[in-house]
């Protein structure tokens, strides 16, 4: 694995030097770097990437979820980070199993995550541990089900 060009990336080298175990997997597609993290390391890595001089990922552009149903672990969460001072980007990915769809919140690191996490909770049913205000944001409060899951039909459930 050490021969891949991805490993030469300074972001990866810094992260490796800090904690070897923080990276579960690396991939690069069309010039976009993806770092897959073990679920338990998300918060630590987020704090490190945000604060470390030389990385400074100060702006969280987006959090997206993808449902890989029926494959387990079912949910894939992608955090798109941007460093304004250093003009670099990276994508963090965490896999979440459907039976235990919980992740730690990253609001203390990037306050913008608040609404993104609410949206993912609303549309995918993934819970965020430590979120101060976790309730539906786009769908009505009394809605049943999570529409962006793959086992939710496009035309909705007929009653």
């Amino acid at each position: 694995m050490t021969d891949k060009p991805v490993d030469q990336n300074p972001i990866i080298q810094k992260l490796r030097g800090w904690d070897e175990k923080a990276i579960a997997e690396l991939s690069e597609f069309r010039g976009e770097l993806t770092i897959v993290l073990p679920r338990g390391h998300l918060r630590r890595v987020a704090e490190y990437l945000q604060a470390e001089p030389g990385l400074q990922f100060d702006l969280l552009s987006d959090i997206s979820a993808v449902d890989r149903f029926p494959i387990e672990p079912r949910f894939e969460l992608d955090y798109h980070l941007l460093s304004v001072p250093l003009r670099q980007t990276v994508r963090l990915r965490v896999w979440v199993p459907g039976s235990d769809a919980v992740l730690p919140t990253v609001i203390p690191v990037w306050p913008t995550a608040n609404w993104h996490e609410r949206e993912i909770f609303d549309l995918f049913g993934i819970r965020f541990d430590g979120h101060p205000d976790l309730h539906r944001i786009l769908m009505p409060d009394d809605w049943e089900g999570h529409p962006l899951r793959k086992d939710y039909p496009v035309e909705g459930f007929r009653t």
Binding site: S61, S64, H80, T89, P111, M139, P147
Partner: protein, 398 residues
């Protein structure tokens, strides 16, 4: 409700719903306000009234069909969204678009920026009582919409950018129309500035109102003119150039006052910068040349070829019945829309339909800053705060 101390003794705050039907919320935004007299103690935006499930719908359409939905996300900047989506799919495919199409895309997205800023300026000024500005702005916007109609056949839902290039060859004489517009427009910007920039009422209503400091803006993920009015020169066109933006010379206007007035100045300056880019694009666009990539099976063949070549006919049939399948993978494409960073995260599983399309809508993220902008201010200034954010509710709710 909470109890607050006033000069006349303890008093109860009042909870007031502003919207979802309210003219100055620019759509169907509901803000739950907690008021102490005229002072806003808490402002909580409630969204979702325009949620139409565009992301879910995209999963049921082919890659080409989904373009029509991207128009409807941000109806004031449809071409910026078309561009972001097309660039994302082109990146998935590894497709290079001909230079001529890239320059035309740049020209039209910059016109879109002017169009969107004009609607923003007109409605924002009207919210604050300057009714005539809106009439001026919509007069010029009409000219831009006529240009869009000329090239795409539509004034608003253009769907003009397609995967691999453009939908149609622009009609003869369209550049003359653009030229007439950019010759006339600088003096029109001067007119708006004459009405507002040193207008005492305008200054009192916008200066020092809706402060959002750079640190808070970055932490809240705010992008676009709102971030640049706080002194952070983040512009996707400069940071991560796309569609040949690196060949154009333009400045990124910034201010450091962080208030509504600074955001007004930034947007007005951006209109002038857009004109600069349009002018350069006009000299760069070659009069002839391909407007679509040479990618059989992805880009529909020319009508003429279909009459003489069997492969062309087969490809045409396959593209419109099955679509095409990009390799499995995922890309995130950023584009600078009039409101900030619009991002399309497109996931392919190797089938002809996108597995997931996620839209990072700048309005959605920027709206989160509303409590920061308005809390502690007056109710009347809340209108200025909502106006200065330049949100499009279609994009907030998707």
């Amino acid at each position: 409700m909470t109890t607050v101390e006033t000069a006349a003794g303890p008093a109860q705050t009042m909870v007031l719903n502003m919207g979802p039907q309210h003219p100055s919320t620019h759509g169907v935004l509901r803000v739950v306000l907690e008021l102490d007299g005229e002072t806003v103690i808490k402002a909580r935006p409630e969204i979702g009234y325009l949620h139409t499930g565009i992301e879910k719908s995209c999963e049921a359409l082919t890659y080409s069909q989904a373009i029509t939905l991207t128009d409807r996300i941000d109806y004031l900047a449809p071409l910026s969204n078309n561009l972001a989506y097309c660039l994302a799919v082109e990146k998935l495919l590894g497709l290079e678009v001909p230079k001529r199409a890239q320059y035309i895309r740049v020209l039209l997205t910059e016109l879109t920026r002017v169009n969107s800023h004009l609607v923003w300026l007109g409605t924002h000024a009207m919210d604050l009582g300057a009714t005539s500005v809106m009439l001026y702005c919509f007069r010029e916007r009409e000219e831009i919409l006529k240009i869009f109609e000329m090239v795409s056949g539509q004034r608003m839902m253009t769907s003009y950018f397609r995967i691999g290039g453009l939908a149609l060859e622009p009609p003869p004489g369209w550049l003359d129309r653009v030229r007439r517009f950019i010759e006339m427009f600088p003096s029109r910007i001067d007119e708006y500035e004459n009405l507002l920039t040193r207008n005492r009422i305008w200054l009192m209503r916008t200066q020092g109102i809706g402060i959002l400091a750079a640190k808070d803006a970055v932490a809240l993920g705010v992008t676009g003119p709102m971030l640049r009015a706080a002194g952070v020169a983040y512009d996707v066109r400069k940071f991560f150039p796309y569609s040949s933006y690196e060949e154009f010379s333009f400045d990124v206007p910034t201010r450091t006052e962080c208030d509504s007035y600074a955001r007004y100045l930034v947007r007005v300056a951006e209109m002038r910068e857009s004109l600069k880019i349009i002018r350069q694009a006009m000299t760069k666009i070659p009069p002839e040349g391909p407007i679509r990539a040479d990618a059989p099976g992805i880009v529909p063949p020319q009508r003429e070829k279909m009459k003489t070549e069997m492969e062309a006919l087969i490809y045409h049939f396959k593209i419109f019945t099955e679509g095409f399948a990009p390799p499995p993978g995922e890309v995130y494409q950023r584009v600078e829309s009039p409101r900030g960073e619009v991002g399309y995260f497109v996931v392919s599983d190797g089938s002809p339909k996108p597995y997931r399309v996620k839209v990072r809508a700048p309005s959605f993220v920027n709206l989160q800053a509303l409590p920061k902008l308005s809390e502690g201010g007056l109710v009347a200034d809340l209108i200025a705060c909502i106006g200065t954010m330049d949100i499009v509710l279609g994009e907030v709710d998707r």
